[in-house]
Symmetry: C2
Subunit: 316 residues, 2 copies
C-alpha cells in the first residue's frame, strides 16, 4: 500500500508499504480522508523520535471487522490501550502506561491506504455527517477536553491565544459554554472565520493584562504562553493545548505569587465531538485549505508548514 | 528605632529609623520575635526590587490599638488589602489588586523594633503557645494553603521535594491529611527531624518516577521542579511553593502529554495555622538554628544564607 513515512525527521512517500494485519479485536480500515495536525509538524521537527507512517486524524471505511461496522465510515481514537494498567482500570485509557499512539508512538498512522485499530477505538460516523466534517473529530475531541478538565461558567472571562487550526476549533467549542470569550490572534483573515460566527476577536497585542479567569494557549510558542499568563488575573487558569518542540522558559514566581493554575490538556471525548459536529454547533469546513493525494505527501506537508496555513487534508 | 534595611540588594542595620505612625484602623506593634524566610533571601538576590525594612514573619505585642488587644501577643497577616477591589469584595484579600505586603511590597517589615499593621490583619496568640512556636504561624499558614487548593485524600501518594525550612513545615502539614507521604531531600540531618515524627523520607535521587498523584516543589530550583514533575504520574498535580529568582526552563510538552496540573501556592489561613500549632499537631522548634539581635542583622543573614540552614530568628 501507499503511505507517508517519517524516519530521522525525514518524510518519504513509500508506494509499497506492507498492508497492516489486524490482530484479534482489531479492524482493518481503508482510510478515505486524513488531516495534517500540528503534532505531525512537530514530529517532523523532532519533538518525539517517531519512526513510521505519520498521521492520526482520519475517517475510514471498515473492510475487515465486526459485521455491524463492515462498509461503514468510522473515526478512531488514537490511543491504543493495554486494558490492564492503573489508567485503563480507572477508565482513563488515553493515559494507558503501555499505550501506542496512532502515528505518534509505536503505531503506524493514517497517511496510508490502510490502518489496523482496535474495534474498541472506533466510532461510527453518523450518516448525515460529511466526511470532510467528520475528519475533524479528533481535534474537536481534544478541544472539548478543556471542558472535561475545567468548570467554565457563563460568568467566566475566557481568552483563547492563537488563531491556528486548533485555536479556531477551541474558540468554537468554548463558545458553547456561554462564557465571555475573546480570541486573540495575529491573522485578521483567520479571525474573520470566528467573527462570522459571532465570536469576539482581537489582535494579540491589544489584550488587557490581568483580566481573564481562563486563558487557553494554542500557539505552542513562548510568546503565546507569556501573553496567556499575563492576561490572567490572580487565581486564574492557563490551559496548555499545544506541544512544544523546545523547552519553555517561564516566570514561575509569577505563577506562585498569583496562584495561577496551569493545566496540560490532550485527547478528549470522541462521542461528544461527533455530537457537536453532527448537530452543526461548530463549523469546521472553512478551515480546509488544501487537498492532496498520498502521492503528493511532500507537497502537502510543504503547504501545511507554510506560516498561517489551516487544515490540509489527504483524500484517498 | 532599630531596623534592618534593604536597598539596591544591600542590607544595612539602621539604628535611627523613624517609628511607624499607625493610620486609622491600624495598631502599633512592638516586634518581639521574627523569622528569616526564603523570600527575604530572594529579595536580597533581587527577585523583586524592594526597598525598606525587611521581614514578614513575626510575633509582637500591641502597644497602640483596640483595648482587647493592648499588651497582647499577636501575629499578623502580611497582605495589607484595600477592601475595595474585586478580590477584597470576594473574600480573597491575599490577592488584593492594590495590596502592600509586609516587608515585601511597599510596606516596611518586621526586622525592626516596631511595625504598624491594620487591626484586621492581627490574630491574638493563644496564651499557652510559646513565642518561638507562634513565630512560625505565617509559614505554617502558607503550608496549609496547599490543602485549601487541592483536595488530598488518604489514598493519594504525595511527594514533598526539598528539606529546607518550608519543606519541613509542608511535610508536617501534609502528614495531617493521612496521605501516603514521602519527603525527598539532600540533607540526612534535616530529614531526621521528620523521621523522628514518623514521616517517611528518602534521598532525592532515589525517587521513583511516575508514581505520585501530588508533588510539592519546595526547593525553588530547576532540579527540584524537574524531580517533582518526573515523579508524577499522568494527571498528577505539581504544587509550586517557592519563588524563583530566575525564570524556570520547563518541558511544557510533558505537561500537555501527561495532562499535569501545576498550581502556584502562596499565603494561607492564619487561624488554621494557629490551631495546628496550638494543638501540637506539628513540631517547629527543632527548625530553629540561630538567634540574633537586630544589631547583628548582617551576621544573622550570613548565617541564614549558609547552605542547609533552617530557621534563623531575631529576638527583641
Amino acid at each position: 500500500m501507499k503511505g507517508i513515512w517519517l524516519e530521522n525527521q525525514q518524510l518519504q512517500f513509500r508506494p509499497n508499504l506492507p498492508e497492516p494485519e489486524p490482530a484479534p479485536g482489531e479492524a482493518l480500515i481503508k482510510v478515505i480522508r486524513a488531516g495534517i495536525c500540528n503534532t505531525d509538524l512537530e514530529l517532523l521537527r523532532g519533538y518525539y523520535p517517531y519512526r513510521g507512517v505519520l498521521g492520526h486524524e482520519f475517517v475510514g471505511i471498515v473492510e475487515k471487522g465486526p459485521n455491524e461496522l463492515l462498509g461503514k465510515r468510522v473515526v478512531g481514537e488514537i490511543n491504543v490501550a493495554c486494558g490492564d494498567c492503573h489508567f485503563c482500570r480507572t477508565d482513563q485509557p488515553t493515559h494507558c502506561e503501555n499505550r501506542t499512539v496512532l502515528g505518534i508512538v509505536n503505531h503506524n498512522g493514517v497517511f496510508a491506504d490502510y490502518i489496523a485499530l482496535p474495534i474498541a477505538n472506533l466510532h461510527p460516523v453518523p450518516e448525515a455527517l460529511p466526511t470532510d466534517t467528520a475528519v475533524f473529530t479528533e481535534p474537536v475531541a481534544a478541544a472539548l477536553e478543556i471542558q472535561q478538565q475545567v468548570h467554565i461558567t457563563p460568568n467566566d472571562h475566557v481568552l483563547v491565544v492563537g488563531d491556528g487550526k486548533l485555536g479556531l476549533l477551541i474558540a468554537q467549542t468554548l463558545a458553547l459554554t456561554g462564557c465571555e470569550l475573546l480570541v486573540a490572534g495575529r491573522h485578521p483573515e483567520k479571525l474573520a472565520i470566528l467573527k462570522h460566527q459571532g465570536i469576539t476577536t482581537t489582535l494579540a497585542d491589544t489584550v488587557t493584562a490581568r483580566s481573564f479567569d481562563l486563558a487557553v494557549e494554542c500557539t505552542g510558542n513562548p510568546a503565546g504562553f507569556e501573553l496567556a499568563r499575563q492576561a490572567l488575573r490572580a487565581r486564574g487558569t492557563l490551559v496548555l493545548k499545544s506541544t512544544y518542540a523546545d523547552n519553555l522558559n517561564i516566570n514561575a514566581s509569577a505563577l506562585v505569587v498569583d496562584e495561577i493554575t496551569v493545566i496540560g490538556s490532550r485527547c478528549g471525548p470522541f462521542d461528544k465531538a461527533l455530537t457537536v459536529l453532527a448537530t452543526g454547533q461548530i463549523e469546521v469546513e472553512p478551515l480546509i485549505q488544501g487537498r492532496y493525494r498520498l502521492e503528493q505527501g511532500i507537497e502537502a506537508f510543504d503547504h501545511a508548514q507554510k506560516r498561517g496555513t489551516l487544515k490540509i487534508l489527504f483524500e484517498n
